[in-house]
Symmetry: C2
Subunit: 318 residues, 2 copies
Amino acid sequence: MVARPMVDTAINPDTGLPRRVVIREVGPRDGFQNEPELIPTDDKIALIEQLAATGVPRMELTSFVRADVVPQLADGPEVLARVELPAGLERSVIVPNPRGLDLALANSEHFDDVNVFLSASESHNRANVNRSVAESLAGLVPMLARIADAGLRPRASISTAFGCPYEGTVPVERVAEISEALLDAGAVDLNLADTTGMANPVTVKRLFVTLLERFGERAELTAHFHNTRGQGLANVVAALEVGVTSFDSSFGELGGCPVPPGATGNIATEDLVSLLHEMGVETGIDLDSMIAASAAVQRILGRRLTSHTLVSGPVDWH
Amino acid sequence: MVARPMVDTAINPDTGLPRRVVIREVGPRDGFQNEPELIPTDDKIALIEQLAATGVPRMELTSFVRADVVPQLADGPEVLARVELPAGLERSVIVPNPRGLDLALANSEHFDDVNVFLSASESHNRANVNRSVAESLAGLVPMLARIADAGLRPRASISTAFGCPYEGTVPVERVAEISEALLDAGAVDLNLADTTGMANPVTVKRLFVTLLERFGERAELTAHFHNTRGQGLANVVAALEVGVTSFDSSFGELGGCPVPPGATGNIATEDLVSLLHEMGVETGIDLDSMIAASAAVQRILGRRLTSHTLVSGPVDWH
């Protein structure tokens, strides 16, 4: 497991924002799994290596899911075995269940973190994994322990943390209860996910103020926003303003839930980096290289992606 | 000239944001003028009437420019004469020079406000109108007086107020000087325009804090953001947080500067309204009707527009 470097989370007094944040590139998992056409393994490996060369400090590489359910990631073990990555990159995978974890642990020399997940709302969790939230939590407890026992970093994602397409509002207190249960079970990172793009800057601040106050000393809290309604970067700024310093994003704005057709996915890494650098927040990522990686995946996918900076280029301040 | 209703700009203590804002729909001018294909006059009239029926309180209807330079708006006088609008709608037009103002004043029974403009940066003003900023200011002084003498509301827009593609940073003090000169010449509203999408939440707050402190009692300050780098709504929230309560936007995310190809334009009215309503900020606009208006212009233009809510629909909270 790669050591996690200390992040300088000091506030810049000129802006009231953190001086530096950590970005996790999730495109190779969240993006690739949502593409209707299979991406050739060689292309995946080249793209992941190109992403790593941008300086991004963390990347989610694949998911250990059934090949018949998610054929897009059936080559996960081969990708992990063949891809050549810099020593300092923190690599994560995602597992949906104990069987996925068995598979992951058989390949564990290739990554550092294992991410498990559940939904904050009963209806979404039921629709996604056909279990109640309590049943999912009970199942995750031994999985988190096995991840830690294997010398890997246990992470947990909470979907629909900012709203559920079936139930509407998800109470902050409910997300806090689930967060506490996951931390008590050994999770060291929590991902708060806006799965269907229902967060807004007010609800983002409300949730993170509560969670950072209660759990900020125990765990790292990551914001995982989608850009479904164009508010993704506004939500990032809201999270920054209350002290969040860890973000997920996907190059090219890939991924997320591509329903309805044309809906945008995760926030685009290059748009996030452009925003942060313009505000004086460091990421360690070279923006031009990240735009080049998105241009490369756009060529491979053969369709115009929805990232903004990919089209406009970075702000050139002369 | 339609009377401008008092806007309740009280702050909602739960969110720290204004309870209500005023949106000006600029699509019929800023959007239509940037379309490569001419939109039939009948379609324009139908779209403007559909927009007015959404409840939007202000609309920019056309620009009095040379027909050989901007053929897209050559039918401006006919549109103004034929369109049927509700009595309370505040209607504006834009004029680039004294000759445009002559034309406008010959049609002045059809609108309430006249907007003049210049750039905050020398290079952009030179590129746009081939004059220095001082020369432009000197030319605007008698125009603003003529607008007021005609019983119309004089508005002034400052382009590149948040950054210039040729010069980079535009000092806040320079924008403040130009603002003061325009107010002294009789402008009652100032539009601060992010012409090429270079604003970010930090620079938005910095400029508006200064301008509101100095001029907030004398004039209404409007934010006119583009979504070139995906930051448009983040900039709106930043402006709201420091007390801006007036915004320009364009249905369907039309307009702005469509260079390079694929670059997005003004912030989309429907995305702005969705954001504001989700945060409890009232606009008086029916979101479903606004999305329907954007769907209508999308059909007429025959290409997929870049607005998010047009694809995703509004958040349904059940």
